[in-house]
């Protein structure tokens, strides 16, 4: 009941190989700027090679794949967080203040009186709303 997931479908293998391409692409860009040794062409040629290696020998490449995936997820998560924080400040907060100006507040914060609400029924089971 506590088995690690060990399935290696063609899709998994492709994902492992493909995840190695972006770091090589970064190296290619860096080599063009002269920040790392080697020619951009060599890095370009390395791309299908790492893809193939990843697909043929996933077990050797997997630690790198995992590391890159974690890094990508971390970076992506931070970017999305900042983006939505911006949306909150630019859209949600002004809208909330506007609603309050016209006397609307979607949550009931009052402290007095009964809080019972007559039920409107459960609605159709077919609808997700």
């Amino acid at each position: 009941m506590s088995r690690p997931e060990t399935i290696r479908s063609l899709r998994d293998r492709f994902a492992i190989g493909a995840s190695l391409i972006p770091p090589v692409a970064l190296l290619m860009i860096a080599s063009r700027a002269g920040w790392v040794p080697g020619s951009p062409r060599a890095y370009l040629a390395a791309m299908p090679v790492v893809l193939g290696l990843g697909m043929l020998f996933p077990i050797f490449v997997e630690p790198w794949h995992r590391r890159f995936s974690r890094m990508r997820a971390w970076l992506g998560g931070r970017l999305v967080f900042l983006l939505f924080l911006g949306v909150y400040g630019v859209a949600v907060v002004p809208m909330a203040f506007l609603m309050r100006l016209v006397g609307q507040r979607p949550i009931d914060l009052s402290r007095s009186g009964s809080s019972w609400v007559r039920s409107k029924g459960f609605g159709s089971l077919r609808d997700p709303f």
Partner: protein, 608 residues
Amino acid sequence: MHYVLGISGLYHDSAAALLGDGRILAAVQEERLSRRKNDARFPERAIQSCLDQAGITAGDLAAVAFYEKPILKFSRTLEVFLGWAPRGGRAFARAIPDWLGGRLDLRGRIRSALPKLRVDCPILFTTHHEAHAASAFFPSPFAEAAILTVDGVGEWATTTIARGSGATIEPLEEIQFPHSLGLLYSAFTAYCGFRVNSGEYKLMGLAPYGDPHWVETLLEEVVSLHEDGSFRLNLEYLDPLAEDHLTNERFHDRFGGPPRRPDEPLEKRHLDLARSIQVVTERALLGLVRRAHEQTGSAHLCLAGGVALNCVANGRILREGPFQKLWIQPAAGDAGAALGAALAAWHGPLDRGGFGAPRIPRASDAMGGGFLGPEETPEAVEASLKRLDAVWERLAPEVLQERVVEALIAGKVVGWVQGRMEFGPRALGHRSILGDPRSPDMQSRMNLKVKFRESFRPFAPAVLAERSAEFFELTGESPYMLLVAPVAGAQRIPVAHEAEGLDRLKQVRSTLPAVTHVDGSVRVQTVDPDRNPQFYALLKHFEAKTGCPVLINTSFNVRGEPVVGSAEDAYRCFINSQIDVLAVGPCYLERERQLHAALPRSFEAIPD
């Protein structure tokens, strides 16, 4: 046969349940299989386990029911942010991408997880509290009943009262977010240093050590209880959208300091707060129960929702409430809502998209003792043990019981894994650690050496149903360990001088010290031969040898671990803790004969 699959999850405690022509065939929590406590991920393993237990594939399903209406919940989430702004930005930036990343398109998610599902197989959605209400009423033994569901929050509702009759549930009234007893209790759970959505029962266990002198402050400033049973929270003290703590600076100033970190010692203040919030919760629940009685006029009450796992409050509802009979869904939290969603779809009327199936209540209940999970064959158990280089003896059932009882009498701690796995948070004698309750040091020993958890946590007694009244002041049965009752007068031992705080733990208060709380109460499990024959036979055997029909029964896991599922999980837990004996299926294992001193654990440890 018509198979209906119910699913809950993506918030906490994911689970799946399967009905065959309305009969509950299987129900499993994802955490038991994934080995991640309170696993909230989509319950793929639990779904597969349910299908495997019935011997079917997703292509055989007549319907799939999800326990919430995702779009309604999403719109509530947005409205709450609008109501709470400018606070809540961080919570917004975390929650909304999660919603947009797949929580909204549940149909797509379910179909991609179940590629064999027929194109014409409907995917249905109950409301969160409809699923709780269905899980409370449909499996109950009552033809008609009042239904009360209380939790943190569903879509908008945090509390609902409904009337159940035959195959119909009629919702009557509700209390909506942010006024929530579950949220309030969770706020105190986090403030006292425990994890929200799993540490609530620790707070409940801590309550008897404290004094209730914050009750009046709480009632005047934080929560108001009204004559009609409703309540309101004062949001000037709480932050329902905070990610770590649900309390704010004003709360911390009022209640004596910042929230306790999990590694900090428990102070008297925390014990008193635990006691006070427990008292307030009990009063609030008694008010709700009285309201449910007024609204329905029924003599029966069905309970579900996370707050219904508060067994101390449940005991008071039974003793002091207006209802003659009480039935609580054993998986009262969100895991049980998977079962509720399936049952609501099965009995739901045709015009709502349900199957319109009638319902015939059973004399006991329809939960099969709560044993709805997978079971390994003796051969599979032996294969696992062999793979792990274990040393075992395969014994006939009577011999196995004999040996286990001998070990218990010798003061040993026994891991007991038999039959189908439990559904719900309590181990009921199929995935349990057992001990002799007559031993005064058993509670501390089991807590610190076996379960590696706080020494204040009490254990529960499993008692032969027919002898329960001799030991506990319990009217009726408690097969799912969801009721707390006082120790019977004849079993009590007076305490000369009452100690303070956690020192009260060391004082002997009854003939069953290892299961008696400091307030003289116990969380009882009554064991009967119909629901739980194997465990009943073991208790009978123990009674025959000792005269005592009671055993300590605690869940088979260590701190941060979900209850064990398989023989492999059990063996790893046995080796890594100080359990003396393991009885798994027909196999008997003794610690001193094992080759391993430690094994890699099979679970992701979740911090408190």
